[in-house]
Every structure is written in structure tokens, then in C-alpha cells.
Amino acid sequence: MSTSSDKAAKKYIVGVDVGGTFTDVFFLDEATGECDVAKVPSTRPDQSVGFIEGIRKKVDDFSELATVVHGTTVGTNALLERKGAVTGIITTKGFRDALEMRRRDRPQTWGLWGQFEPVVPRDRRLEVGERTLADGTIHEAVDADEVKAAANQLLELGAESVCIVFINSYANADNENAALAAVREVWPNDHIVTSSEILPEIREFERTSTATLNAYLQPPIGNYLHRLETALGDDGFEGQVLIVQSNGGVMSVDTARRLPIRTALSGPAAGVIASAHIAVAAGFPNVITCDMGGTSFDVSLVAEGQSALSAQTNIDFGMVVRTPMIEITTIGAGGGSIAWVDRGGLLQIGPESAGSNPGPVCYGQGNDRPTVTDANVVLGRINADRPIGGKLDRLDVEAAKKAIMVHVGEPLDLDVMQAAEAVIRVANSKMAGAIRLVSIERGHNPNEFAGMPFGGGGALHAGALMKDVGLKNALVPRFPGVTSALGCTIADMRHDFVQTLNGVLGDLNVTQLDSQMTGLAGKGLNLLEEAGVSFGGIDTVFELDMSYMGQTHTVDVALPIIYEGGATGVSEEDIREAFEARYRQVYGRPLDGIAIRVLNLRVSVIGRRPKFDLSLLAPKGDASLESSHLGTRQVWVDGAWHEANIYERLPLPVGTIIPGPALLEQPDTTIFIEPDLTGLVDDFGNIVISRKPEA
């Protein structure tokens, strides 16, 4: 990565993904091109302990580390468990409840038993006299003394961070900036956020929520990163630390401290980035990634090598974050999801889950209701004598059978094997529904996509899902359990900006637009430069959110501009053409004679980090299918027992063909190749699953 001679000893790029159960580390030795992985238990509350231990598994001298890239769930957990800082809000008179009133919604369509607790309670949301109108006119200037008094009151209430959010500040941030200066005079730390700095975009609730959550995360994320840097430094580390953002790009620690809200989906985003990279290298530019955990199943679509980004994400009911994030669709079907028969006599899976504690019945930790994992154990697909994760010695198959019989078999009049298979079929059908949601429902043809499981659980179901949805293949990466850590090492550096314009094409001042575009691009380029990382190249992408006047949903219009510094050369005609082309693509026919609205400008600056050659991961050595054979096991499929071969997965050499039924075991996952499917070890060590040719 670096060319300066004094850094010659720094040879490792390390990706660290801290998940709920395990901390995964991926090591890349840049000098030799060799890779290695480590897995240690995650530590809580201080994740940095497991982090350091994980790296030390393979590297003792931290001065050998060039770059450490980190996917973190500290932010996600703080949000979900409401364990951020004591935060205050200073806002426009008359609007202190914007955060709590949301957009007037409810958690569920059916049933009116909803509740909502905002992260900043009402008594720490203070109002000051000030008002900006929609056109940017200052209707009432803000009074610095009133703001200082409000800030002091928040400090008395114990606030550690503060968010300043004024109505219409996207159109003119003068009042917010004046308030910021006033708060700075009395606030004892740097945890002061203005909404126009975080998200200068129209829509007060979304801006308030995003900026407030940012203030809420600044102290805990700042403290965590400080502990991490200190711990690394104590062991002689002198390199760069980078943090993965929810948009799949990385940022510097300084940026992360300032914009911690961008880490909300840091961990899962790294997994999707890695999957996209592995899949493209393997010749599958179109994949649907599937992460099956204990309680949920997350899917994400990668088309032409690009992962889909969504502009806004609900972390929880009423907890809205409006920054670009990798689009991940989650349904409540995981290994721990409970199977039950409803009062109408229909078999249901989830949403209730046994999680990892007490976990499935076969764990023997007190749960007696059957889960998806229990069904997999009964059907012979999971090796009861060799549980993944290493916490348990063996799994209790008989207890799993009994639970399935009592809760599924008897009510449905099925024997235990039929009942277990029914559980898997309904669970697969539910997961297939999630895959259809992100593919068929978005206009993609599933036959052009491969399913790509990562994480521990998905590879057992990949073949069935592939058949159910009509996917072309399933692609199981070489190290499914450490995909996110691997993704950390290859993610690009990326910074996204937005500015609301809210103008009409024709009246829009193009010169002014050009200076806004170059201004935001310049900000991004500065951040890249300050990070001190070298890049293979830098891309600047300009997009506009546009619609016809009267429409409320906008389309994202990428402008055909190759930016190399200086003016962008943007023109009204280019914008119009780009809009009409995009509108045609999304909705069909563009409409003549209706004014065109330009709502937001979006700018992304992407520093391309070098990628390592994935073929380095491929198996080496002289193993063969025969030498990797571990034995056979009876597996129940389609109403009958089949004798499945069991193989040690990792030594299987490139080019090996594995006919189903087969089970491939490796420390972090089990892959099931169904009787009518066949597996192939590709050049990178991935397993490509296909249908057997029709006999």
C-alpha cells in the first residue's frame, strides 16, 4: 500500500470484524501475498480487548501492521440497546417534539399497542426563539444568550452531547451556525452537532433523527476508538486505523469520531462488500448475499458488481437514519427461529426465536420448543458430534426429535422426519420470499443471479433456496464465517454528501450548482487526503434527486460527468437528458410539458483501495476428494434417507467435483449439497453449486 521506505516493515493489512459472538480477523501479508484468519470470542462491554487478542493470535509485533480496518457493531448495539450518551437538543420554538412525533406512524399495521421512547426525552429538548423560512429567509434571528442559557440548562440535566436542529436549516444554516458558536462558549467537550452539518437535506424529522443519533453516538464511539488506538499504540502500532461505514466504504478514525452515525451498519456492510468482490472475481457479477444468523436472515442484492444503497434506514421503530447505507432486507427466520402450529393448523416459523441462549433444543440449555437448527440436526444435515463454534461438545438429537414431535408432528399428524422436513421447507420458503423481495420484486431475473451465503448458517440452505427461487447457482465463499473481516481489507474509502436544492429545471442557476458540486467534491477529496492512505484511483460521482412537479417520489439521476478538478461543466441540457433517460428506465414513458424539479444534490467521492488477488485463497497442497473423505451419514431429503458423503472442505483442490448428496464440513460452517445438485471447487476455493444435468 505504502511506498515510503521507513514503512517497509509494515507488511500486514488486517481486517477485524467484531460481531455479537465472535471477533473475526483476516490477515493479508502484502509482501508474500499470504492470507490467514483468526477467530476469538467477542468481549463486552469493551470490544477492544477481543480485538487486540484476535490480532495477537497471528502477529506479535504490532509495528508489522500497516493498516487495520475495522467493522464495528459498537454503534449498532448502542442504538438498539439505547445505550448512547445523555444527549440534549436545542431547537426552534414550537418544534421540540419533532423527534417524538415522527412522521405520524405506528409500529405495526394491525394492532394498536405500539410504544415509542425517543433517545432524547422531552425534558432535554429545549426551544429557543428563531425561525428560518423555506426560501432561506431569516424570519427571526437567533439570540446567543438564549442559546447559552439552554446549553447550560442541558449541562445541569447531565447532558454530555448536544444536537442543534432548526427548522429549514437545510436552506440556510446561519442560525444553526450562530447557535453552534454560542454553545461552544459554554460546552465542556466537542460533542456538539448541528443538523445542517450532518444532513443538509429537507425533511425535518429525518434530519433531526439522524443528527440527534449522531450526537447520541459521539461519546461512546469516541471513547471506544480512543481505547482501541491506545491499546494498539501500546503494542507498538504505528499504522493507519480505518473504520467501515454503513455505505460499504471506509473512513478515518477522525471522521468516524465526528460522524459515528455512519457506522450504524458497519459490520454487515463489510460482509456485502466482500461478497461482491469475491463473486465478481469468480465470474458472478450478480449475486444475492444471504446472512443467516440465530434470529434473522439478511439479504442484499449485488447487481453488476455494485451493491444497492438505500438513502434511509430504520434501525428500529422511529429510529431513522438518513445516510446512504448498503440495502439489507431482514426477516425473522434464523437458526434459532421457533417452529409452531397456529390455531388455524398452519405451520409457522418465527418470528419468535430461541437466539443463542437458551438456543435450540439440541443445545440442552433449557429451551423445549423446536427451532430450524433442531430440524437440521434431526435430518442429519448438522453433525451432532461436531458443533460449530466449539462451545458445546455434542448436540442432543433425541431432545430435538421429541420437541419436533410434540410441537409440529402431533398437531399436523406427521411422523418426526416428515415434521422436521416440513420445518425446513417452510423456513426455506420464508427465506426464499425475502430473496424474491429484493430480486423479482425489483425487476431482476433470478435466473441471472447466484445466491451467496455468508456467516455460519446459510450454507446448509443455499441449495434449497437456489432451487426454490430459481437462482442460477449458489456460491459458497471459502471462509463464509470471516467474510466481513475479509471485506474490511478491500473496502474503498468513501464519503457521501447531500445538499437540498429544491429548484425547478430552467430556473436553476447552473453556475451556482457547479460551485456547489465542486465545493462538496473538494470536501471529499480533502478527507481522502487527510486520511493519509494511498489510492489506486479516485472517482467522484454526482447525482440529483429529481421528479416531475407534483410527484413526491424522486428518481436518482446520475450525471454523466467525469470530474478531474476545476469546473464540472454541468449543463441544463445534460441534466434534462439524464433525467428523462432515468425516468424512462424506472417508469416507462417520460412526460412532456410538465416542469421538472431538482430536489437534492448528492456527491460521492470514492478512493479506490488496491484489491488483493483472491486466488491467493485457493487451496494448496495435494489433497483429493478421496483423501478428504471423512465418512458417510444418513441424511433425510424429500421423504427418504440418503447416504451422504462427508468431506473436509478446506483441502478439496481446485477443480474438484462433488456430486450430491454430500456434506462439506469446515470449522465455521457446513455446506449441504442436495441429491440433485453438484458442487465444484473453483479457482478461488469457492464452492459453486449447480443443478445436476437432467438424466
Partner: protein, 576 residues
């Protein structure tokens, strides 16, 4: 018999077809009432009876149920004309046959399989403007449906796959928003096309016989599930009456009365004691009334599926003379207020039978408020929105502050979007203290909205309710606050004579309109609320010091903490 696992799989696949039709229309619709508020719905319906087979989960709740009547209207029309053919699509908005109001346009398409009628697919969406006296069609002074908009009976807009432009020409000529209308119409056609493709693929994969059997089985299982739910309620008759303020024409209250009888696994909802048909637009058609019962039932028994089996063990009695079963041309434009009240009386009756399954009533009015005028350059502007309020307290906790109406899943537009589009700005957008109904679990808070005009003149229209009869609590809980609307004139703030309904109020630049919406009803007795919870409500400003003493018999010290001796005294006094 179909195996139960295939059944569970097919259930998910069928629901996904309807969901996907919903999503297609939401994305491509031209008007925000569909695009943002999701005032639309799609489903599959029985070839013979029109009964709901499967309906999407993301559409407007009230259409779950109403659409069966719409399809039935088409079946009867086709039987009369005897010319139903593959490739036909019917279009209509007749509310007396198909339910709801004139704004909702229904498209119904027969689906043929191997030359035989297999089922119907239908799409309904709320169009922006369908003519009538008032833009947007919420006319509180309508006495005949002719003042509310055009009425189109079931006619073919596609004949054997051939599009009839002349029908759409007629529709467009009768709307203030012809382009929006055309965009929404096309979106609905696209949704039907997509439904046909997906259903064909499913039938190819599983075979028509299997899918037919699954549909029948799903219906009988829904009925079984509903029966099992009803059997858990104690036998008896439970009565609940509630009131509408007035009909906008005659200032007299209107009674919505329910006698709910549980007998074993059967339930009868008798609305016979309800007021007669009225002059103004708060009447509803029978189909609308049945659909709203369905919504109420689904809010109580959340797991029952959206198919006709649910209503099998339920009888609904609604005499023709009542305001719940009117015929043309009685006005029905304000149907939302009446069906909200039907839902409230169902909650009230269920609370007596099964307190643990119920909740306090929600705020109970949609408050359709519009400001309209002309800009300096002569361009016309109309700001139109529905406003929120509190949800009822419930067994698990306090009611949700500022929620949406039980009949809808719509969100409210951002203030900043409204301010950027119209010459007005909000001076307040806040929770309303003391508006939640007192209770062991308090009702959620309603809201205060205040708007100042930036142009010289504007006309203000309001269609609301609960100005005189507050949302009741249940199981001993108190009522939420009344709806309160005032508008500023040169000599101060005024109250509309009909409380929450008024047309053409004139306001000037710098003047305000001020709306305070109801909170939800409480759940359980207020005296049982933990005094510490009351103190916290006071600290957060949800409940005032006076409210704490008056509604909860809790005395607070100067610092806001509970004064325990005084509180005990107050509570003993209140209990006697």
C-alpha cells in the same frame, strides 16, 4: 387433500403476489395519496362470489374487505350483460356498490386459465380529484353525491385486451388533476398486469388444482382460527354506543350503536340502534360498514389472515334505514369519520368481553384540513393534509403519541416539504399536554398544529370530528381530550359553529389557524396508575400539575416529586 406444508408455502407465495401489486402501484403512482399515504389495495377474488381470496398486506387496511363488494358488483354487471371475456378490465368508483367514497377507483380484471374463469384480480386507488364542488373531494356541505364528484358505474375500459381511450377521456375531462389521474390509472393497470404474470407462473409451477385447493383450505382455516378466537370470549351481549358531533349540515349528534353478542364460537354485531341516514356526508354504504368491522376485528385479533373465511363465524346486522347502509345519492364523502367510530364501538364492546385483548380508542378523526388561495402571480395553491393524534392506552403500556388513524398506515408530510410548496408556515408542531385519556395506562398524546399565512388571503376547509364527544377509554380508563379547532380573525380567535367542520373560512396574511387533536382513551383506572409514572409524565410535560391532581389524584411537590402523604389523602378521597 393438500399437504399442510405445501399449503404454508402457497400461502406465502400468494400473499407475495398481492404485496408485489401494491408495491408496483405505490412506486409508479402520480399522486401522493397513493405514493406516500398508500391509499390503495390489491388482491385476488373468488370467480363466483367475489369473496376475498388473498389481499396484499401493505395496502390501506379499510380496503381489506371492501374490495370483495367491488368485485361482486362487477360479477353482477357481467352476469347481466352476459359478455365477460378474457382481457376485459372493468373500471368504476360507485361507492354504494363497491364501498368507501367516490375518490377510490376500482379496476377489476377476470383471470382465465385454460379458457375458464379462474378468479378476479382487482386494484383500488384513491385518485387526487374526481370533480365535485371541492378540490380533493372532501366537501363537508355535500347533501348529494353529485356535489362530491363524478360517479362511474362498472364499465369496460379494456375489451378483450383492447384499450378504450374514450372512457379515460371522459374521466380526465371530469377531474381538476387529469394528468395525475392518467398516471394513477396506468399504475393500476401495471399492477394488474404484474399480478397476472405472477399468478400464471405460480399456477404453472404448482398446478391450478393444487392452488384452488389451497385457496379453499386457507379460507376454512381462517374461519377455524376466527372461531377459536371467538370461543375464548365469554358468552353474552356487550353494548357500546358512541357519537358523531354532527353531519356538517344539521347540528345534531349521530349515534353509532353496537350490540355485540358472543355465543360459543359465533359473534353477532348488531348496529340496529344506530341513527338513521343523515343529510350530510357522514353516511356510509353497507359494504363500507362491513369492511370497517373487518378492520376492527383485525386490530383485535391481529393474526387472522386477510381472506373471507374470517367473516364466516360473524353476522353483521345493519338495517337499511341507518346511516350505515345508504343508497345513492346520499353523500358519503366523509366516510372516514363514521368508520373510525364503528372501530371505536367494536373496541368498546370487546373491552367488556375481554379486557386483556382491548385498548382505549384512538383519536378518532382524520382532520382533513386544507388551505387554498391564489399567489400574487395568479397561480392557484391548495395545501391539503390529514393530521394525527394519540392512540389508546393498552394492556402493555401507555398509548402511542401522535399515531396515524387505525384505518390507514399513512404518514404525514414533513413540515419543510409543506412550507417549501405553499405560502404558509407552521408556528407550532407539538405534542398536546393533558390530551391523553387518564388511565392505569395513559392514552397517547394528540398534537397541536398552528399555521400562519404568508400570502394576502386564503380559504380554509376542515373536515373533522370528536369536537364534542371525546375518544373513550376502556376498562375504567378516561377519555382523551376533545378535538379543538380555532381560526384567527381581526377581532380574535373563532370556533366553527359545527365544532370541527367548516367550509371557506377567510383568513389574511399573518393570521393563524390552530388545531389541537384528541389523545387516545386510557386503559384501566387512573387511580391505579403508579404515582411515580405520573411524576415522570409531569417532568416530561405530558401531564400538567393540575392534571396530575385532577385526573390521577397525585399531588406533586415544587420540584416535581410525588408528595406521598398528600397523594394518599387525595386517592382515598377520590376512591370514595
Amino acid at each position: 387433500m393438500i399437504d399442510l406444508v405445501t399449503l404454508a408455502v402457497l400461502k406465502g407465495r400468494l400473499e407475495q403476489i398481492a404485496d408485489e401489486m401494491d408495491a408496483t402501484l405505490f412506486r409508479s403512482a402520480f399522486n401522493p395519496i397513493i405514493a406516500e399515504a398508500h391509499d390503495a389495495s390489491h388482491g385476488l377474488y373468488d370467480a363466483v362470489t367475489g369473496e376475498t381470496l388473498v389481499q396484499g398486506k401493505s395496502g390501506l387496511p379499510i380496503f381489506v374487505g371492501a374490495m370483495a363488494f367491488a368485485v361482486k358488483a362487477v360479477i353482477e354487471k357481467a352476469a347481466k350483460d352476459g359478455d365477460l371475456a378474457d382481457g376485459d378490465i372493468y373500471i368504476f368508483n360507485d361507492p354504494y356498490d363497491g364501498g368507501t367514497h367516490l375518490s377510490d377507483f376500482k379496476l377489476v380484471r377476470p383471470y382465465y386459465r385454460d379458457g375458464k374463469l379462474y378468479c378476479y384480480l382487482a386494484s383500488v386507488g384513491h385518485w387526487h380529484d374526481v370533480g365535485g364542488n371541492v378540490p380533493g373531494n372532501y366537501n363537508p356541505e355535500a347533501t348529494e353525491s353529485f356535489q362530491e364528484g363524478m360517479l362511474i358505474p362498472p364499465v369496460k375500459v379494456y375489451v378483450k385486451g383492447e384499450f378504450r381511450q374514450d372512457i379515460v377521456d371522459i374521466l380526465q375531462a371530469n377531474s381538476r388533476q387529469p394528468i395525475s389521474l392518467y398516471g394513477d390509472f396506468n399504475g393500476q393497470i401495471n399492477a394488474l398486469d404484474l399480478g397476472i404474470r405472477r399468478l400464471t407462473a405460480l399456477l404453472d409451477e404448482y398446478g391450478a388444482d393444487t392452488v384452488t385447493e389451497a385457496l379453499g383450505e386457507l379460507k376454512s382455516r381462517a374461519a377455524q382460527l376466527m372461531r377459536s378466537n371467538i370461543s375464548e370470549l365469554p358468552d353474552g351481549t356487550y353494548t357500546c354506543d358512541d357519537w358523531l358531533d354532527n353531519d356538517g349540515i344539521v347540528d345534531e349528534p349521530l349515534k353509532i350503536a353496537l350490540d355485540l353478542t358472543i355465543q360459543g364460537d359465533h359473534m353477532t354485531l348488531d348496529f340496529s340502534r344506530t341513527s338513521d341516514a343523515c343529510a350530510g356526508p357522514v353516511n356510509i354504504a353497507l359494504s363500507t360498514a362491513v369492511a370497517s368491522v373487518y378492520v376492527a376485528i383485525k386490530h383485535v385479533f391481529t393474526e387472522v389472515p386477510a381472506n373471507s373465511g374470517v367473516l364466516e363465524p360473524i353476522d353483521i346486522i345493519i338495517p337499511e334505514n341507518t346511516m350505515l347502509a345508504v343508497k345513492a345519492p346520499k353523500p358519503v364523502g366523509g366516510y372516514t369519520e363514521t368508520i373510525l367510530r364503528i372501530i371505536d364501538v367494536v373496541f368498546g364492546a370487546v373491552a367488556q368481553a375481554a379486557p386483556e385483548r382491548s385498548n382505549g380508542c384512538a383519536y378518532g378523526t382524520i382532520n382533513a384540513l386544507s388551505l387554498a388561495g391564489h399567489r400574487v402571480d395568479g397561480r392557484r395553491w391548495v395545501m391539503f393534509s390529514f393530521f394525527g393524534g394519540g392512540h389508546g392506552g393498552h394492556p402493555e403500556g401507555d398509548g402511542l403519541n401522535h399515531g396515524n388513524a387505525p384505518i390507514s398506515t399513512a404518514t404525514i408530510p414533513p413540515i419543510e416539504i409543506l412550507e417549501s410548496a405553499y405560502p404558509m408556515f407552521f408556528t407550532q408542531w407539538a405534542l398536546r399536554p393533558d390530551s391523553g385519556g387518564p388511565g392505569k395506562n395513559r392514552g397517547g398524546l394528540g398534537a397541536i398544529y398552528e399555521i400562519e399565512l404568508l400570502e394576502e388571503n386564503a380559504d380554509v376547509f376542515l373536515f373533522g370530528e370528536r369536537g364534542r364527544y371525546a375518544p373513550p377509554g376502556v376498562v375504567g380508563g378516561g377519555s382523551g381530550a376533545l378535538n379543538k379547532f380555532t381560526y384567527e380573525q381581526d377581532d380574535g380567535y373563532k370556533v366553527p359553529p359545527m365544532a370541527s367542520k367548516m367550509v371557506g373560512i377567510k383568513i389574511k396574511k399573518g393570521q393563524h389557524v390552530h388545531l389541537e387533536t384528541p389523545g387516545g382513551g386510557g386503559y384501566g383506572q387512573a387511580l391505579q396508575r403508579d404515582p411515580l409514572a405520573v411524576a415522570r409524565d409531569f417532568q416530561l410535560g405530558y401531564v400538567s400539575r393540575d392534571g396530575a391532581a385532577r385526573d390521577y389524584a397525585v399531588a406533586l411537590n415544587d420540584d416535581g416529586s410525588v408528595n406521598t402523604p398528600k397523594t394518599e389523602q387525595l386517592r382515598q378521597g377520590a376512591a370514595q
